[in-house]
Each structure stands twice: as C-alpha cells, then as structure tokens.
C-alpha cells in the first residue's frame, strides 16, 4: 500500500501544483479583484463538474446537479477509454500516439452500424460497440503490422495514420458517401442519425446526459487492470514491455503479444468514438475535432500508465473540463482546463526527468554501501 501511494503521489502533487499555478495565472492577469475572480472561477468549475450544489440547496430542481455530473461523466468516459488505449500500448512497450485516429474510425463505424443496420436494442448497442472496437483495432493493427513486419516505428506510423484517418473520415466519407440526407438546401453535417435502438440508454432520463458509456468505461478500466495483473497473457504482455529480449528468451511470443496489445489499444480508442456517437451525438458530426485521443496520452501519463490510475485521472479531468466551460461566465478563456491538464503533465514529466538524472548519476558509482536508500536531499550542482 505504501509503495502504491508513493507511486501515485507525484501525479497527485503535479495536479495540485498545476491547479495552484493556473489559479495564480487567472488572479494575476486581472486588473482588480484577481484573487476573488480566480476563486469564483474555480468554484464555477467545481459546480460545473460535480453539480451546482449551492443552487440546488437554494431550491433549484435536481437537474442542476445531474446535468453537470452527466457532462463530467461523459468526458471522463471518453478520457478513460483513450487513456486506457495509450496505457495498454505502453505496457507492451509501444507508444500509441494514434488513439485519435483509432477513435475517429471507431466513431464512424458506430455511426454506420447505428444508422444502417436495424436490430433490437439488446443486440444493436453491442453490435455498434463491437463494430467500433473492430474498426479501431484494425486501424491500430496497421501500425502494429508495420512495426512487426517492416520495423516501422509506431510513433511515426500512428501519427501519420491519425492524419490519414482524419482526411479519410472527416474530409471524404462523412461529407461524401456516408453523408446524411437532408431536404434540398438544408445543411446537414455528418452521417445519418442513428436509430433509437442503438443509442446508449440515458441512466437518469431527461435530466442528464449521463449514459451507459460511463459505467462501460469504468468496467473497461477494471477489466484491463485484471487482465494485466491477474492473467498469464497480461503478465506476458508486461514482460514484453519491460524487455522484449528477455521475454523472448523466456519463451513468450513477443510479436503476438505486441500485436494483440496494440489491437486492444485500438479497440479501446475505437470504443471511445462509439461512446461519443452512441451516447451524445447521435451521428458522426460534421467534424469530430475534439482531441480526446491526444488527451489520452496525457491522461495515461498522469495516471502513471496504471488502468485504475487512468480512470482516476480521467474522472478528475472529466470534471474539470466539463466545469471549465462555466469559467467563461467570469471571462476566463474556454481552454483553461486544457491548460491545467497540460501543466499537470509537464510537472509529471518533471518528475521523470528528475528521476532519470538521479539514476544516471548513481549508475557509474561503484557499490560502496550496497542498498542504502538514496539520500533525500540529493546534491544538485
């Protein structure tokens, strides 16, 4: 337990530090009342993330609680899935920067299955989710195959495949062959609307957009964690990530583990697209600009590449980002939540760099007094 806490601590501290820095940034860029404004803005963000409790206690209907919570949960679900996608690839030693492209493909597949196939709800939702997962997995599979058979570095291929996906889906399929039909003259963007049977059910009815996607995402986090920690294939996957030569020597099918992990990563990112389309949008929108796939990288790193850490980080940043919109009421720019997330990531990175510097300095030194703990106040130049 102590070990686990120590692992989580840098992330928690980084997030807190970034919150403080951003608070100061708001406060110091105001002419007057900076600190009051910054605090008010943070409170707005909080109420936008966990529900507007003061208004509720003041007698407003329960919707002022459920709506913000629903928004936060929706964003958290998306961030969890893309974060898991990146984390799973990390575990096998690959860097999946292509979650965005996989998500686009997944979203498109979900939209197509949702609108072009007619099934009862009990089958339709799983079919659409499965379609999205397969599409995402296939897209990631391209990068995996290039890596395994041609030695193309997955960072390069996944970045490039992101753009291919964007142009393919946003600039061709969605405005071309798969475009929804409207009356002449009406501008409709995106694909046809999905059938009601494919929409993820709303868990709280009309008063919130909270839908089945959220529990599914949380379930996915737990499942990935169990798989990595408690199964043989999961163990082998981690072994490949820690050192593929050693894994190969131990008789682990390295290529298969890497390929499967990458496919799983793609499937997770694809499901994020499905949750977006089936949960709230109801169609593949004209452009799916939101970079949840890229955010997944940050979420994964802040969550220490641990499935449950990813879920926690996603919950936190889901709430922050859902609430961040409200900061605009106090004239704080709409992208502040991203700033908080970016700074948190930077501070997490600072820890990594710091550790690596320490390790390198210690490495050449001969073993003097075997395993003494490193002095906390390590000398810096």
């Amino acid at each position: 337990m102590g070990e686990r806490a120590r692992q989580a601590l840098p992330s928690v501290l980084s997030v807190l530090l970034s919150l403080v820095v951003c608070w100061l940034l708001i406060a110091l860029t105001r002419d007057a009342d900076g600190f009051t404004t910054a605090t008010a803005a943070y409170l707005q963000m909080l109420w936008g993330g966990i529900g507007d409790w003061p208004t509720f206690l003041g007698g407003s209907p329960v919707a002022v609680l459920t709506r913000p919570i629903g928004e936060a949960a929706m964003k958290a679900a998306l961030l969890t899935l893309t974060g898991l996608s990146v984390a799973v690839a990390f575990k096998v030693g690959l860097f999946n920067i292509g979650a965005q492209g996989q998500m686009l493909l997944g979203a498109l597949a979900a939209a197509v299955v949702g609108s072009h196939v007619e099934l009862p709800a009990l089958l339709h939702i799983p079919a659409a989710l499965l379609g999205a997962a397969l599409a995402g997995a296939a897209w990631a599979g391209i990068a995996a195959a290039l890596r395994l058979y041609r030695g193309v570095h997955e960072v390069i291929s996944t970045i490039m495949l992101n753009w291919v996906a964007l142009r393919l889906v946003d600039n061709w399929l969605v405005v071309g062959p798969l475009r929804g039909v409207a009356q002449a003259g009406a501008s409709i963007t995106g694909t046809a609307e999905i059938h009601a049977s494919a929409a993820l059910p709303r868990l709280l009815g009309d008063v919130s957009r909270l839908n089945l996607g959220f529990p599914l995402a949380m379930l996915a986090a737990v499942a990935v964690w169990l798989w990595l920690e408690r199964t043989r294939t999961g163990f082998e996957t981690r072994a490949v990530g820690l050192g593929d030569e050693a894994a190969r020597a131990a008789g682990i099918p390295v290529a298969r583990r890497a390929g499967l992990a990458m496919a799983l990563a793609g499937a997770l990112a694809g499901s994020a697209g499905a949750v977006l389309v089936l949960g709230t949008e109801g169609r593949y929108p004209g452009t799916l600009g939101a970079p949840y796939g890229f955010d997944g990288i940050a979420i994964s790193l802040i969550g220490n590449n641990h499935p449950l850490g990813v879920a926690l980080a996603a919950l936190f940043f889901g709430a922050i980002r859902a609430g961040g919109t409200r900061m605009q009421l106090l004239d704080v720019h709409k992208s502040f939540p991203e700033l908080i997330q970016g700074l948190a990531l930077l501070f997490v990175a600072g820890r990594l760099i710091w550790l690596s510097v320490l390790r390198r300095r210690r490495a050449p030194a001969p073993v003097l007094s075997a395993p003494t703990a490193p002095t906390p106040e390590a000398p810096h130049a």
Binding site: T29, D31, T37, S187, V332, F336
Partner: protein, 397 residues
Amino acid sequence: MMLRLQVLALTALLCACSKKQEETPTQGSQAPSTAQQPAKKAVPVGLVIDVGGRGDHSFNDAALRGLELWAAGKRYEGGKYVDAAPDEVRKSLPAHLTTLATSLQALPVQPVVLQSKAQEDYIPNLQLLVDRGAQLTIGNGYMLANAVRTAAQENPQSRFLLIDSQVLDAQGKALKLPNVRTVLFKEHEGSFLVGALAGLVTKTGKVGFVGGIEVPLIQRFEVGYRAGVKTTKPEAAQTLMSVYTGSFNDMAAGKQVAQDLIAKGADVIFHAAGADGIGVIQAVKEARAAGKSVYAIGVDSDQSHVAPDAILTSMLKHSDLAVYQAARDLVDGKFAAEDQLLGLKEHGVGMAEVRVDFPGKAEALQKVEALRQRVVAGEIKVPSVPADLASFQAPAP
C-alpha cells in the same frame, strides 16, 4: 525502456500542444475583471458560438457584433464589456445599411457569450445559458442545429434563435418548434455580386474560391460566386478553381490552399471558410508583398481591416442584423417563432464597401450596383445549387 518511451511521449505531446496554440491565435486572452452588471435591469441574452470561436473576423464576429455592439451597446475588450462610443455603431454599418443607423438603438439586454470547444459542448452550453436565466438563447451556425433542437424541446418555456439552419428532425426534414426562430440567408445573392466584381477585376482571367466544409450552405456561396463571374467574365467562370478545406478553424489549411491557387494564377480569391479564410487572406497579403497583384474577398463581416490592401471587398452576411432584430423583438415582446429567409432585398446579405483602388473602379462598381438592383427587383434569379448553375444564363448588360 519505459522511461525512454515516456520522454518520447512527452516530446511528441509538446509538439502537438504547440501546434494547437498556433491554430488558435487571435483569441482575446483572459485579461481583467468580472462581467459588469448594468445599472438598470437588463434581459440576459445568451449566445453560443461554434468552434470557430470569437475573433474569427467573420461569421462569429458578425453575431457578436449584433448582440454586443448593436443590441447591448457594448464592446468586448480585453475580457470585459465596456460601453461603446456613440458613433461606433454607425461606423460598423456598411453603406447600404446606414439608413438603419437611427433605428439601431441600444436595448436593455445583457449579453452572455459562451464559446464551444467541441461539438459535444453545444447542448450543455445552451442549457447553461437557459439555466442562467437567458430569455433568448442564440445558436450561431448550422452546426448547432441539433443542439438547438434538443435544448428547445427540453426547455419549452425558453426562446431560441438559430442562425443559418432550420430545425431539422432526425430524418433531416424541417421541423417547426413553437419557441425557435430560424434565419437563413440567400448567400448566393451576395456572392453573386462579389463574383461579378471579381470578374471585372481579374487580370489573369483566373479566379478562385476557397470553401470550408462542403455543405449546401457553403455551396451556395460558390454557386452564386460562379454565377457572378459568369456574368461579367464568362471565360473566367470556365477556369474558376474551387477548393474546400474541410474545416472552419484551421488557418494553416486555408493558407496552404490559397498559396496553391495563387501559384496556379488566380488573382482574385473569394473565401467562405471561417477562420481558414484568415489564412487565405494571409496568403494573399504575402503574395502582394512579394509583388503579385492579388486580391482576396472576405466573407460574412467586412474583413477589410484584416489586410486593408489585400481585401477587394467582402460578401456581407448580416447575422448581426438578424441577432439584433431578435433581441429587439424580445425586448418589445414581439418575438415570434418563424423561419426567416433574408436576401439582398431584405438586407440579409450584401457587398462591403470597396476600399482599394484599381483601374476602372468607378465603372466596375456601377455595373455591380446595376446588377444588385436587378437582383433586388427579381429580374435576375441567382442559382443556389450546383445543379442550376449550368442552366443559368448570364443576364444581358
């Protein structure tokens, strides 16, 4: 191994981040102060603008002008509202609207503006404005059509204005809601005028068009523009080059496309591409600095101030007027749910003042004005869909 991967991840991510910042330039950074409460009781009017954001010098800024400057008499400056100077409203009016100057009185409304980060923010943003007590909530842009439908159905007691689209049901059929007013514009008519001017101005005989996302709405700009060019310079209509960038918020894409068109010899480029169009204007500006005689035609708002030498004119789309009228009707208690369609005749679209000089300017402007009057009189029917373009006969002078 892990560590190296993570450092790699970070570098890649930093690159991605820095790119993102480039893409959103002119946002007024979050500077001072909380929103000011006007002394008398003002009606809150909400406005949700699409992902193009504030400061696009175009579509979103037009709606913002209608609400903030015209309706509320305020200017958004450095993150807060200040009272606008008395003549500022009049200055913001193009020549063909100056007659309206006296009727544009500041109304007791208080603007509440929310920008959207992504498609899925539209509904929560509209809902938040309703929850904050907005009497009228404006969805600016066809991308908000679905969101306005949902929000209007969930809040039947609240009123909405939807710009640029009708309310569509799941099958894409127009739907009437008792609490939504929609406004559509005849963009083709305004584009027809700037197209006619482009045909008169071009020296290379090649003109270009840059569109954002290829939807019927943006096609109306292109079709009207083509018809205009065909009227004044038929051979240029044959070679007219048209490109769609596929976005409204990617300046780099607009710039790239425009550079391409200029390299192929286009010397007048009309854009209907939101923030991508700012990139188009930049490309034209740079080409002019390099000694080429090239013009850009702006869209939605008068974009002359973006690059005074490079902007020939702008095709104006008066969503500012539509927003103002809706706010006025709200204050007067006359707000009715209806579908409006505004063309040249209704001052819904128009051509901005031509501020650059070129040989034969007076004559060219006369010709365009003559065309305008004939469109208003109904003598010329400007096509609005690509299919009608082939059968469009250029009117005899």
